[in-house]
Symmetry: none
Subunit: 261 residues, 2 copies
Amino acid sequence: MNSQQTIRLAVIDNDSGFVTVLAKRTEAAGWQQRTLGGAIPPEEMVAMKLNALLVDPAVLGDDSWSYLERICGMLPDLGVVVCTGRSTVAQRVRGLRLGIDDWITKPCHPEEAIARLEAVSRRRRRARPQAETGPLVAGELAIRSDRFQAFVGEVSLDLTRREFELLQLLADSKGQVLEREAIYQRVWGYAMAHGDRSVDVFIRKLRQKLEKLSPGWGYIHTHFGVGYRFDPEPVDGAAQAAPEAAPAADLAPVHGDLTAA
Amino acid sequence: MNSQQTIRLAVIDNDSGFVTVLAKRTEAAGWQQRTLGGAIPPEEMVAMKLNALLVDPAVLGDDSWSYLERICGMLPDLGVVVCTGRSTVAQRVRGLRLGIDDWITKPCHPEEAIARLEAVSRRRRRARPQAETGPLVAGELAIRSDRFQAFVGEVSLDLTRREFELLQLLADSKGQVLEREAIYQRVWGYAMAHGDRSVDVFIRKLRQKLEKLSPGWGYIHTHFGVGYRFDPEPVDGAAQAAPEAAPAADLAPVHGDLTAA
DNA sequence: TCGAGTTGTGAAAAAGCTGTGAAAGCAGGG
DNA sequence: CCCTGCTTTCACAGCTTTTTCACAACTCGA
């Protein structure tokens, strides 16, 4: 299995130099990073589906402790790393006891911060292999990662592993256009050779299987010269009386979007 | 069940003062600590069922890196904390990348070391109080963990220990597809070597024994390229109903499972 | 409208996976 | 020390999936 799953990181810090450097490096590593100006409600964090959080309590103000405690309590899957200036042993111990995973002292090398974030989310992931994240619903489709399979109603699309991973990746970034290289990198796990058509071929297989079980819906859209975008929409064909099956998509906001404000 | 299960810690260090203080505190905290004079084979570590390891690579000699790598690779569930003297950022990053969970610099306060060890071995509190929930029933099968055995009616399947543990793991996650690596990790206790076929072989043995005492039921399903899924379903002896029509079990919502309660 | 560059398709070749039977290793009990 | 079960390893057959190819169909700018 792909061990290097992409990490979704949020940073709460106002040391712009540090944050910038960090952003550059995490991006190069293929992580998705979002910088926050300050504390945001735990609920929003949940929606962002983060793997890791790097935070300087100095910017949190007075009740940073209770905020951190709330975060750690409500997001047991989130790896939390504190990176701040001078601190006492007692403070660090208190933080770690409270649920924080690592505590780094500034100034620190961005590379080390990244390595520690990586270590922390590695451990978190291992501790809870596949949390009960309900199925991802899109159009008539239900994507269930506990089954490595997608369903229309009760019927399985009968996807192979790669097909499933591709579909999952696309659906995870619903609405976003993904370039072939990026898709290949994330599904296959290594760089795409020039001229490789694998992605196209698998897109076709997916479309075939989707069409067969869920005609009346268009799921995967081609962006010429760019890549593909997943966005379930009822096919506008006037002839289609079919799509009376409730588009459950809206009922289950399963996936928040990191890029969405 | 107690979420704070006692931690089994091993320490590889020769700073007797530090080790002694540490031992005193961990003992007070109810941990089981074992101090080792130097490197021991990863296999022995497996046997010790450790949760955490505190190690000063200085006492490991020259190939401390490869040793640590081996440990981290074979015992992914082990929390590894390095505690040593001066080090460069590059060394720390290398260590963390390699699988180490935390890296502390000496001199360090024992309390902080303990807090970090705790943070590192903190993991899901799985309230799996299999405290006599009675035998787990699936299809014609009754799995009785009190007997380390499965029965069809009164007849024992005559499972060996590994067979039983494998069956129990699968049945515990009924309906879920488990990957080989995950299965191996949880039944054998350490990471699966690439190309190891043990899981497949045991699946075959289970299938044989199940088939013999409970023909007419299919229990273990193969997911090509992924792993196996336990889901008892009556086998349609003659060419019967549609093959792909999902059995009722599949329709159940992903969350709560009434039969488990 | 033309042409270079892209994407969709079908099918064959190559690679990879799983089921199986059997032999080789191992550990505990006579 | 030998026996006896249990576990691991091996080699191979049969299948499934993935990759590769050659072409047709299509898009977009000149």
